[in-house]
Symmetry: C2
Subunit: 477 residues, 2 copies
Amino acid sequence: MAKKITPRSKDYSRWYTDVIQRAELADYSPVKGCMVVRPYGYALWENIRDGLDRRFKATGHVNAYFPLFIPMSFLQKEAEHVEGFSPELAVVTYGGGKKLEEPLVVRPTSETIIGHMYAQWIQSYRDLPILINQWANVVRWEMRTRLFLRTTEFLWQEGHTAHATYEEAQEETLRMLNVYADFAENDAAIPVIKGRKSESEKFAGADTSYTIEAMMGDKRALQAGTSHNLGQNFAKAFDIKYLDRNNELQYCWTTSWGVSWRILGAVIMVHGDDQGLILPPKLAPFQVVIVPIWRNEDEKAQVLKATEKVKATLAGVRVKVDDREEYSPGWKFNEWEMRGVPLRIEIGPRDVAQDQVVLARRDVAGREGKSVAPMMALAQRVPQMLTTIQTDMLDRARQYQKANTFQPATYEELKTAVVNGFALAYWCGDAECEDKVKDETKATIRCIPLDQGGVGPGRCVVCGKEATERAVFARAY
Amino acid sequence: MAKKITPRSKDYSRWYTDVIQRAELADYSPVKGCMVVRPYGYALWENIRDGLDRRFKATGHVNAYFPLFIPMSFLQKEAEHVEGFSPELAVVTYGGGKKLEEPLVVRPTSETIIGHMYAQWIQSYRDLPILINQWANVVRWEMRTRLFLRTTEFLWQEGHTAHATYEEAQEETLRMLNVYADFAENDAAIPVIKGRKSESEKFAGADTSYTIEAMMGDKRALQAGTSHNLGQNFAKAFDIKYLDRNNELQYCWTTSWGVSWRILGAVIMVHGDDQGLILPPKLAPFQVVIVPIWRNEDEKAQVLKATEKVKATLAGVRVKVDDREEYSPGWKFNEWEMRGVPLRIEIGPRDVAQDQVVLARRDVAGREGKSVAPMMALAQRVPQMLTTIQTDMLDRARQYQKANTFQPATYEELKTAVVNGFALAYWCGDAECEDKVKDETKATIRCIPLDQGGVGPGRCVVCGKEATERAVFARAY
C-alpha cells in the first residue's frame, strides 16, 4: 500500500498499471497472459455487466450458454475466420488422461459453435429472429498483454443473432452499436465515435464491422465495442437455413457483437487522474463513502450515531462507511480518492452539532469540489450530486476529445495530428493509403464515422485522390 | 415439438431428458460431454444464481475472478487433490501455435490458483478473513454424462475463504452449508438433509466435507451442494501465512464451497410430473402466463385490452402474455404446463364481461387447481397464490422424502430400503461396512446428518458393532 502512483505525465502506461494495482482492481497471475480480477474490480465489472444486460433484455435479447470447447474443424469451415484466429488459439489435446482424436479449441469467440446450433434450431421463418447473448470467458493467446486491455483470457459478452433478411440483420447490427454507445456515454461517461471499420480492420468473417471508439487520457484511441454484420458467411459455412413464407429454403443473415472487460480499462484511462481512479457514479461499486471523524470516545459515539442516520437516509445509494480505527481521516480521504469513489461525506463533531455534513466531489479537486449540506437535505442532495457528477464527467471527456481532435488537410498535418490526438481526415478508401499512414505514423484507421458531419466529398489526405468519406486516424490500444 | 414426454413410470431417465429438451432448457452439443443451455434454461439458472449471490453478499462475501488455466505443477502441490482430479483433467498443450513448456490444466476447481494468490494478498491477521466467491465455468472430463447432472463443462460458483483460526473456518463451512440449505428449501422448494460426508466421499484435499442431499422423484439421492473445511492442507501447500497479533507466522485455515447448475437438474426431478416441468415461483422465468381466448376480432380486441390491464396490475410479477395467433388456447395450456409456469391466467370474452379471470395452478392438476377471481383482486391474489404454491411445493416434496425414508434395523432391511428410498441407519464409521453396502446394493453413504434426531448410540446396520451415528444410505446421481 506504500507504493505511489506514477504521474501520468511521467509514464502513462505505468500510471495505468499502478492505479489498477493500488486500487486493487486486478492483479497479475502466475499464468502467462492471464489476470486476476480482485473484488473491487469485479464489483465494477458487475455494474458494467448489469448495465449492458439490462439494455440487451430491453431490446428483446435473451441469454444462453454454449460450450467452452470448439472442435478445430468448426473453425476451419469459415475461411477468413480460421485465418484470423489461428495464431491466437489455445488447444486442448488431452482429456481424461487420453489424447483426443480431434483437438478442441478453447473458444476465442463463438460464431462457429453457435452457428452449428442455430442450424438445428431454425427451421422456418417463424423461428426468426433468434436474438441470443452469452456472458462468457474467451481465450486468445496474446504475446504482449496489458491488464484489462489485452489478456489471454478475458470476460465478455457476445451477442449472436439470426435473421430472415439482410435488412433486419443490418438493423440489428446498428441497434446494438447504438446500445453500446448509449451504455458508454450514459453509464461509463465515455463519449464515443460510432463508425465502420475499414476492410483491413474488420472482424474475421464479417461483411461489415462497426465500432465505438473512445479517446483515452493520453489521447490514444481504444476500441470499446464492436458489432458485426456477418452477411451469409457463417450461415453458408454452417448451413443455417430457413423455409420462407413461399416454402423456399433460404440462408439466414447473422450478426455478432461484443464488449469485454476492456471497457473497464477505458473507464480508468478516460477519467483517472494522478490521485488514481475517478469512477462514474452509475458504475462505482461505492457511490458515496462516509468518513466519520472523532478524537475521543464521546465524539465517536455522537459521530457514529449521526453516520448511521445519514446512511439510513441514503436508501438506493451504494454507500460505504469507513469507520476503521486504525487509519486516520486524512489517510482515508486519500485512500477513497485513489479508489475513485465519486462523493465523500465527512462527519465530524462540529458537523453533528450543526446537523450538517461536508461533501467532497472526487471529480472536482480542492475547495471547489467541497460543500456543506444540512443532514436533512441529503436524501435529495446526494442523488442530485451523483447525477451532476455523472453528467459533468461525460461533458469533460467530451470536451477533451473535441479539443484533441484535428482535421488535417495535408499529409504533413496528419502526421502531427496523430501524435497529438485524433485526426479526422478524408480517405479515398484505398488500403495502400491506410497502410502508408500505419507504417509511417503508427496510426490506424479507427473508423469511418457514421456521422460525417454533413460535409461533402474532398481529397484523400494521403494520395490526394477524390474521397467521399472522412476517417478517424489515431494511435490505438 | 411433436415429441411426447416419456412417462416417469416407464423410464425415469428418458422422462428427464425429454422434459429438458421439450421445454428447451438445454440441448446436446457437438462437443462430447458438453451441453448448450438454451434461453429458458439459462433464465432459470440466472434466478438460481441471483438467489445464491444475494445470500453470499448478505453474509459478507464478495465476487472476484481467477484464471481459467492452472499450471499443472500447482495441482501437484496438494497430494490428495491431484490424485482426486488427475483422471478428470482437460489439458492445454498448445498456445498461439507453439507447444507450451508447462501444460495448462483447464480448472476443475480453483483451490490451487486461488491459494497461490491468497499467499500474496495475506500478510497479517488484519487481512483476514478473506471471503471471496467466483462464478465460473469448470471442466471435469466425464465418461458418462447427463444433462445438467454430469457434464464435462459446467457453470458453478466456488467460494474460497481464509481464516485465522480453525474455529472460524469451521463456522464459515457450516454457515455456507446453511446458506445452501436455505436457498434449496426457500427458493428451490427442495427439502435437504444437511450432513457430513464419509472419509471416502469427501472432497480431494479437504479435512471435512459437508453436503446437502435431496431426494429426487425416483427416490434416488442427489448431492446439491458441498462445503469443505480444508484445514491447513492448502495453506501449507501454497504457503498461505499470516502474522498473528503476537507477530508470529501462522498458517491460515481455508474453506471452499460450491453449487453448480446440477441443482437445476434437482429442480426438474423433485417437482416435475408426466406433463413436464413444475417450477417453484421464486425460480420460474415466468411466474404467470396469461392466455387470452377469443373467437372473432371483436372478442380479440376486448380480451387483449383486458389482458393488458391485468398485466399492468401485476407489477413485480414475471408475466408472459401468450397472444400468438397460430396456436389454440388448448395448445398453449399444454405448452406452458409442460414448461412449468406456476400459474396460468385465462381471459375469455365471458370473463371480460364479468370482470374476472380463471386461474389455474400448475402444481395442482384438474379442477382442484382452478379458481375464478375478480380482476380487481389480482394484484393481491396472484402474489398470494405464488407464495402458496411455493410453500405447497416444499411441503409436498418434504412429505415425499419423509414417506420414502426408512430406518432399517438389519442389513436385510437396509437392502430393501435403498431400493425404495433413503435408508437412515446406524453406521460404525468403518469404510469396510460402507464398501460392502456399496458393492452389494449400489447405495452409498450420502451423509451423516448433522441432526441425528436425538437418538442415542446403536448397532451398525452392517456389522452389528457399536455405532454412535446414523448415516443416510441411498442410490445417488
